[in-house]
Amino acid sequence: MDSNYFLLFKTAAAEFRAWEHTSPEEKRAILPIIELTRGRRRRGAGADLTEQQLISTPDIYAFEKILEKTEESFSGCPRVIMDITREEMLNSFEINQLSLDTDGYKNWVTFIETQIEHYDELIPTILVNPSNDDYEEYESNLIKQVNDALDLCPGIAYRAAVLFDPGFLNDLEVVADDLNVAKQNGKEIFIILDHEFIRPGTSIIHAARTLGIIERLNLLLPEATIVTLATSFPRAIDDLGDPEHDVFPMEEVFLNEEINRALKHSDVHYGDYGSINPTRNDIVFASGWRPRIDFPTANSRTFYYREKRDKKHTYDHHYTSVAQDVMNDELFEELEGCWGYEKICEAATGIVPGKSPNFWISVRMSIHIHQQIVRIFQGTS
């Protein structure tokens, strides 16, 4: 199976768990886009610092643990794309240092050089972080980064925040000649059109805009591999549905289908966030949580059941109850060999494998990955 399901990982614990339980065959079908984040805060570190001071002070977050875990999890992949976070909430001193534009983003290129040995094929993303108003410096740093990285790696990727960064084509215009030459010399060029969260029902609107972008990209980088990346999984389920049960479409699938339909061919690859909302939800559940289980379906929907916890019953009781509701739903499917599916079945029998929301995010992600691979490679949607 060639990998052409692009899956974004924000290196959160729930994602690592889902990945750990993904079968080797499924892993081969996936091209992970690893967004390195800061890691957990070290115990007692920066107790007296403000949020802003925390991200500008070294050694507050355990970034090296994220690197170790990433290597352990993804080193067997035929190819990985490596990026760093642009989310302020997931940033740290160490990540900021990697993104400095000095000397052609030397810190980033040097970092990539240290990582190459851990992976079969490592594709770095192009970072864009100009530190001043000098246009020539912006251009020369970008070009140097691209060429230095391409000297080390079999390809390079550009991840565009298409709904946040309306100026991104400027970067590609600057490096287009170098990228086109690299492509002719056998290097891979990936352009990832990251839509982040898109609301159910909006795929046609977003596709219309993205088609305009692709048209311009095709003129600029005619041989580049283009990927749409998005998720419609909400930050909080109440944003989209009723508190106890609802179903909503996976708009990321329809976005990609809409674009390929309009282009009359299937050259734009599919990518998503594995049913994880791009904004990490670090809510502390001071008074407990409402047990919920989600189930991504083969026809590109996600349904869920949730219960209010009462004081008479344990979380086990409620997770068993919602797992039974999920299994009794007409949209529920048997998914042989899928870890997430098996966990729901176990919970429904009363043997609850996990009691934290985090565990059940992994379950959802596992099922989502499975469904996407089936859809992409067997065309069952």
Binding site: I95, F164, D165
Partner: protein
Amino acid sequence: MRKRPLRPPRPGQEAGTDSLPLDFEALDTPERIIEFCQSRGYIDGSSTDIKKLIEDTPNLEIEFKDLGEYDGCIKKIENDRYLISINSRHSPTRQKFSMAHEYVHFQFHRDQIEKMPEGEKILHRSSERDHIENQANRVAAEILMPRRLFEDRAREVNGDIAELSRIFEVSTLAIRYRAKELGFRGHGF
């Protein structure tokens, strides 16, 4: 590193000229609406000119008329065209929140507008159970009182609700609602 880098303008290019400007159609998260309003000047200082945003949005119209007990409503008038009606008898601050609420329906709940009642009371219901209405209130408050701006101004005026109401040009009820959403305690809240 920023999601939207601060690129120096190309020589000869005006600062802030983007090659792919966001359009009115792609605004399906509060963050995108706020970013759009800030980049297009709909947020001037602290106040969001929601009426102008609605007037400038393609396929969206606005009218002010006597809606009796209701604050506002949105309905489909043609294929892709929608009309927001706002109660002309209400105060400008109350109208402003109603406009933002209906605008959120247009951006977020377009596929459900035809099922919506022709007239709704906004923010004044004792409990808002419907998640769509709840979301419209929440996002309307976010658009009219973006988190950072609200936090800064609230600190500057030491939580004076009347003063915040003047700054953001919304009702004191809307200020209290937003303050509660953001977890503000004490002072006038």
